[in-house]
């Protein structure tokens, strides 16, 4: 394997604590090594005047699977003006808010991302998710199966059978080759099976008679009992509604008293995703306002919680979530086309296009809330950059978010451009915040932080010797002190290495790499009760047989990377 020495770049790496010093990064056999470990055959990359970071880690995006493909198929208009012809090793690719699989891989790579997590995998459709991930080049990927509305989980929790929940989680992760425990609108999506919802953490789930709070705490306990790499990954109840920040605080409080139990270096017991959508004040869309400070204050004070933001990027996009009732609510609001899929025994999903228009006050306030949450946050290792792609905006806007976070000037330009800028300013704090994040903080929010929260800090997120050689070089000179240049630089990595293979050279994609699929193999003691329940549910209620449910075979996961976990008896 070729060795590389990336010389004299400005290095930003929270893992080794390098804050923009000129340093060399050495790559050998797919890993980061000390420069002295290289032999004479190493190729030298002159990164003088450029910014060097570890490959970025995406903790939450919707990039593969059934609802993503519904988004692609039912929005031909999303492909207008975006298509790129086949070029070199690149397949033809296109799409804006829901890019094709090929474009997904290339576009992430161009921004310096090397690991991407698909944030919601309906277990029955796991095969589809893996088929799409197989066709997504370059980036390592994993997928989170959804558990928060699963009948097994609901029934076990109704009876407080936590051992059974753990055994079932272990079985489902293996059957779907999934990575973590995802929860979307706990209980509410099951209620949606009857056209209903659970808006508060105390609303009982129809028939199953458990509450969202019981689902969340039960899954925290099971997750920590198993010692999984990632914590529970939750999208709470009552998403997107004015006044919902109280529900969010109620949800976050459920984590109080729990501490992380794992061997992967993860410290949180709850990751709350796209928290921007959950930090709303007001009683209706007329008096809608930011409650970012209340939510950020709570998160700052509780270090067993991590969040990602879900920045609104002011684009036309495609919303998609396993929160089925929310998408119905949204289509009633904007009267655009609505797709919905209820998945037997497991979950549901909805898809609705959306336009975050700078002419609409609410959209401007949503934009402000995302930035406030990041700027009011005190620990960049616990708050991560996402757009909940494509829900609050396409992931290709991350560089623009960097610009807004790094430059108060860029923010005030945007505030001035809002049609109702005085209303946006009145309903938020954004205009009074002058904090400007540094590249070091942004490296924590996009690399070291998410890698640690995912339990992957032993592989990704930093430039310490022994980590995977995922390294990006941006053509940005931090000494210029002009963050307005950052968007273009971060959109077009000058060089990228993935496990030691050069993917981007002089800004051009030159390799598809050898992407891996990460999944968690949790080994638990044999649980005959759970195995019997699984057999019975498949015989009576599923429409596929148990044997046909499991994702197997190399064609689905050509390059699997299982992470082994031994659960205690």
């Amino acid at each position: 394997m070729t060795q590389y020495l990336i010389k004299n770049g400005f290095v930003y790496d929270p893992v080794t604590g390098i804050r923009g010093d000129r340093a060399d990064v050495a790559i050998k056999d797919g890993k980061i090594v000390e420069s002295s470990d290289l032999d004479k055959s190493a190729r030298t990359i002159d990164a003088r005047g450029k910014t060097v970071m570890a490959g970025a880690v995406e903790i939450h995006a919707h990039v593969a699977g059934p609802k993503v493909n519904v988004g692609r198929i039912y929005r031909p208009e999303d492909k207008l003006f975006t298509y790129q012809a086949k070029k070199g090793i690149q397949r033809m690719h296109g799409g804006y808010s829901v890019p094709t699989t090929f474009k997904t891989g290339y576009a992430y790579a161009k921004m310096g991302y090397t690991t991407v997590m698909e944030a919601a995998m309906p277990p029955l459709y796991a095969r589809h998710v893996h088929e799409e991930m197989r066709d997504t080049p370059i980036v390592d990927e994993g997928a989170f199966p959804v558990f928060g509305n699963n009948w097994f989980v609901l029934e076990y929790l109704k009876n407080r059978e936590l051992d059974n929940v753990s055994a079932y989680i272990a079985w489902l992760l293996k059957a779907t080759k999934g990575y973590a425990v995802k929860i979307v609108n706990p209980g509410g999506t099951e209620a949606w099976g009857w056209g209903l919802n659970c808006l508060q953490v105390t609303d009982p789930v129809p028939y199953f008679d458990v509450t969202p709070a019981e689902i969340v705490t039960g899954l925290i306990e099971a997750n920590e009992h198993l010692g999984l790499p990632h914590s529970i990954h939750i999208h709470g109840n009552n998403l997107g509604n004015p006044g919902n920040y109280t529900t969010t605080l109620d949800t976050l409080k459920l984590a109080e008293g729990y501490t992380a139990n794992n061997r992967f270096g993860r410290e949180q017991v709850m990751h709350h995703t796209h928290i921007q959508f959950h930090s709303y004040g007001g009683e209706n869309w007329g008096n809608f306002e930011s409650k970012a400070r209340e939510v950020a204050d709570y998160v700052n004070k509780h270090d067993n919680i991590t969040i990602d933001i879900g920045f609104v990027t002011l684009d036309e996009t495609t919303t998609m979530t396993a929160d089925g009732p929310f998408e119905h609510h949204l289509t009633e609001l904007n009267h655009l086309k609505w797709a919905n899929v209820d998945v037997e025994l497991e979950t549901a999903a909805g898809v609705v296009p959306y336009v975050y228009s700078p002419a609409i006050t609410v959209c401007g306030v949503q934009w402000a809330i995302g930035l406030e949450l990041a700027l009011l946050n005190k620990d960049p290792m616990r708050a991560y950059i996402t757009t909940d792609h494509p829900n609050a905006g396409p992931f290709t806007r991350y560089p623009r978010i960097w610009k807004w976070l790094m430059s108060a000037k860029a923010r005030s330009q945007q505030i001035e451009a809002f049609k109702n800028s005085s209303k946006v300013v009145a309903a938020s704090e954004i205009a009074s915040i002058d904090r400007e994040l540094t590249l070091y903080e942004l490296a924590a929010m996009t690399r070291a932080g998410p890698a640690k929260a995912l339990g992957l800090s032993q592989m990704y997120g930093g430039l310490a010797p022994g980590l995977e050689a995922d390294v990006v070089v941006y053509n940005f000179n931090p000494e210029t002190d002009d963050p307005m240049l950052i968007e273009n630089a971060v959109s077009n990595a000058w060089a990228l290495f993935k496990t030691g293979v050069q993917i981007i050279k002089d800004g051009e994609i030159v390799s598809n790499g050898n992407k891996r699929t990460l999944w968690v193999h949790a080994k638990v003691p044999e649980n005959p009760q759970v195995m019997r329940d699984i057999r019975e549910k498949f015989l009576k209620y599923y429409t596929v047989t148990e044997r046909n449910y499991e994702v197997e075979g190399r064609s689905f996961i050509p390059n699997p990377y299982p992470i082994e976990v031994e659960a205690p008896a």
């Binding site: 593969a64 086949k86 095969r127 009857w194 056209g195 899929v341 209820d342």
Partner: protein, 451 residues
Amino acid sequence: MTKLVTDVICPFCGTLCDDLEIEVSDDGKKVTGVYNACAIGAEKFLHSAAADRVTRPRMQQADGSYKEVSYDEAVEYAARVLANAKKPLMYGWSSTSCEAQSKGHEIAELVGAVVDNTATVCHGSTLIALQDVGIPSCTLGEIKNRADRILFWGCNPAHAHPRHMSRYSIFPRGFFTGKGHKGRKMIVVDPRVTDTAKLADVHLQVEQGRDYELLSALRVAIRGNKLPDVVAGIRKERIYEAADLLKSGRFGIIFFGMGVTQSLGKNHNIDEAIMLTKDLNDYTKFSIMAMRGHYNVTGSGEVLGWQYGYPFCVDLSRGFARYNPGETSSNDLLVRGEVDAVFVIGSDPGAHFPISSVRKIAELPSVAVDPHITPTTEISKLHVPVAFVGVEVAGCCYRMDNVPIESRKVVEPPEGMLTDEEFLERVLQRVKELKAEQGAAAAAAKGKVTA
């Protein structure tokens, strides 16, 4: 001694029953028994052992007769036809695996083909409608476990999807539907008294071609607004009754077939059916689902969707993907004489396209990849028989509700036969070589001109 293979997928219709048990001879070469399948599915498995099966490629001769050729010759011919064409049509894909579809798309990108599947003459109008208005849907298990209102519109599952009603929609007892069919109300909308209609609680015998009117009337009726005395041949009282029946359910579904996708109104009918479903969600929970025909037509749409962003009619001839049904759909291309070669796999346009299109296929350089002898293979210049997907080779398939299921291999194909994927892989490699030669020749010619 025989052995039994269980959990086998039926590679016939979009119902994709996955509980088949196939009895196989001890040497693993012959299917000796098929259990749990419908008559059509069983025949598909048994046909693999037919004595008259074609096992080697055949090339049409000048006099119309066929001459057996080797797979090498078949690969060479197919690769040359595709590489030399300016705009070949690569049609079908619905009766093969997603792996083969994916391989075929690689070829299509290289040669600038139009990739279209059988939806173009089937549920293409449904796909256009869901691009207009979306689609609230669900998996078939939701119907089994929750649904108490089932509406079949312009479809006849009793004959076309024989196990649909017993596995998913009418008869099964599910979690919240312990009474089975006794707890469900069944409505059929069909101008004919089909075997499905005979089972229904309510049969609305719509006037032929008046589906749009009846769908609109139902939307009016569920809101409690006024109707004319008769709509689409049905008295208004019956329409109000049907509307009340739909609204009063806890969970309902509309299944619709080609009786409404390809009759007068086409995608507009489906627009209206989807909007009726959306309206019903203001009162109760309702879904809608297309009764997809081929066992993996859904898979073709999915693979095209994630690779190119469009589910059918994908034109790659300009070096990027374009989509414009009516322009980039197979029949329009054939009738206008816009394609100069035809490659068919996993379908039978010879039996289902208008005769004007079939004549065009017969005139053009053409390849048909199909295990059977079909009207298409009989008009194509080259017929390449392959192993049966789901019988002799495994591969991923998508059910009508988009649920992916891996089909199983139960017997060995006849000796020396290729699978779809293997054949396409060999064509791909040869096309790459030919394209490299063409590129080199073009560069040399350009050099001469410049000199």
